[in-house]
């Protein structure tokens, strides 16, 4: 479903490949891509996440919201294997797993961006996005040394894909600049590009619009929608801007103090008394 176009074939924008022949993009009848069951995580007695269950359907945009410290980022960290929950099972593509290393999660098709931009600061925009192709490059040490023949062909093939992403995100002008010196909004965009380059089935976005102005938020929303509808990438995002969440998300899960307090469509969640209490506080 996700962006799985064959590298060698794609010359133009990777538009058509993803959707051909598939119709189950709509949530509702779609299959579960990820299922989280009764997950609990604690750090030496401090509970970060308690008994959380939810699922992410193929092709949907799933938002995870909640006040600060609700355990949202911890939840993402659990999903891509950076933290190991003490209890609970996570199934990805129908396969349950308990302990998984981050690089294994990446190999199985989960990519993410970070709350505080985690780009490779010493590298250029191009190299950063190229780094997203790491898992898809296989030429061994011998060819790397010679840098002719297969290794070079592989490098160029992937460069072509990366250039498509660069076009998509409209960052061609900063292609060769070191990312450390880019403005924050562009860094976030490069980070999205890096995750896109992995061609993930599930893309986790941790506050993709934090610290952005309105215009940048609109750009970012547009990229996320395009990514979802054109390439069919399933997206889970954490975001504090409720306007953005309500517009983008198909379904929303709400966390508070590490517990799930609501789950449903944006409309349902907005109407939930528990959510209103969590955000506005309750008189005790």
């Amino acid at each position: 479903m996700a962006l799985q176009a064959d590298v060698a074939e794609s010359d133009g924008l990777p538009v058509a490949h993803a959707q051909t022949g598939q119709s189950s993009v709509q949530p509702g009848g779609a299959e579960q891509l990820l299922k989280v069951e009764h997950v609990s995580l604690s750090f030496g007695g401090v509970k970060a996440v308690t008994d959380i269950s939810f699922d992410i359907l193929k092709g949907e945009v799933r938002a995870i919201i909640g006040p600060n410290g609700a355990g949202k980022t911890s939840m993402l960290n659990v999903i891509n294997g950076f933290y190991h929950p003490q209890e609970g099972v996570i199934s990805f593509k129908g396969k349950p797993r308990r302990r998984m290393k981050p690089h294994q999660a990446a190999a199985s098709g989960i990519a993410r961006t970070f709350q505080n931009v985690a780009l490779f600061k010493g590298m250029s925009t191009l190299d950063n996005i190229m780094s997203g192709r790491s898992l898809k490059m296989h030429r061994g040490f011998f060819w790397q040394v010679l840098h002719v023949g297969p290794a070079r062909a592989e490098e160029i093939q992937h460069r072509r894909r990366v250039e498509e992403i660069i076009d998509f995100l409209e960052i061609a002008h900063i292609r060769k600049q070191p990312v450390g010196k880019l403005p924050y909004g562009l860094q976030k965009r490069v980070e999205l590009g890096r995750a896109m380059a992995m061609e993930p089935e599930l893309l986790l976005l941790d506050e993709p619009m934090a610290g952005m102005n309105l215009e940048e938020k609109e750009d970012m929303s547009r990229f996320i929608i395009d990514l979802n509808t054109e390439f069919g990438t399933t997206i889970a995002l954490i975001e504090h801007d409720m306007g953005v969440v309500m517009d983008l998300a198909d379904r929303v899960v709400v966390l508070d103090y590490g517990k799930k307090i609501a789950d449903g469509t944006p409309g349902e969640v907005q109407a939930s008394q528990a959510v209103i209490d969590a955000y506005l506080g309750v008189a005790h």
Binding site: F43, G44, T73, N77, F82, D206
Partner: protein, 318 residues
Amino acid sequence: MELIHSILVAPFIEMVAYPDFFLQVVWEGFVAGVLYSLIALGFVLIYKASGVFNFAQGIMVVFAALALVSLHAMGVPAWLAVLLSLGIMGLLAVGIERLVLRKLVNQHDAILLMATIGLTLVLKGVGQLVFGGEPKPMITEQLGLPTGSTDWEVFDGIVIFQHIDIAAAVIAVLMVMALGVFFSKTRIGRALRAVADDHQAALSVGISLHQIWAIVWFASGIVALVTGIMWGARSEVSFALEIIALKALAVLILGGFTSIPGAIVGGLMIGVGEKLFEVYWGALFGSGVEAWFAYVLALIFLLFRPQGLFGERIIERV
């Protein structure tokens, strides 16, 4: 079989058979350990307050001791030489803060480490240029430090205690206590702890980072001078000490980078451990194992307890 015996059994039989010798070895190791602890203490002070891993601590010890000895050789009375050496270390602290640290605020810690390696070169060069490169005897008697030795008859044998070693241990204890009081009771001590906890928060309540940094560097300069005197009194003042001082890095692994008790316990463990290892197991490996024992111990330690003896478990965040 024989090998296992000579590793696991024979050394212990020997320890029990000649307990006086064993005690002597432990004491020697203990005293060396005190000196490692003192160097490590200088590291910890600076690391706590500024996050700088001060590679130059070893050369500061040499520098301070050389300054003292050279001043005395120029005819300055011992007490005045001590004061002047302290003054030199103070100036050095201010200079380092002004010219190096202030310009490297917020840099990656590896950069800071390398800056102190550069500092090491400068101090070494200046030290050799000004004071000369040849080893010098410490002015032990002039400073009023004891020189004799006491024999302690025990287990049908004797254990020899050099008075200077006892003095070193006592002075080390006093200095750690003084530092403890300084940290917990004075206004500057409180500010120091605040800075150690969170630079920015400390800045926001009006603590001057520059001042604090200069003070901690001066404090470890004082520690360096004391260490230099003690070390010099046991052997002599020379630049060879610089390499030995690297063992304090291993001490820090054991004790943790920010823990003063850790530095002391770690130093003693390494001091005693390497002496015992050298004496009882060294022959198996062909002697000279003291050169690497500390580092290998630290390495093994790192694999099992990366946060050190007293450090807190590190939780990584994304």
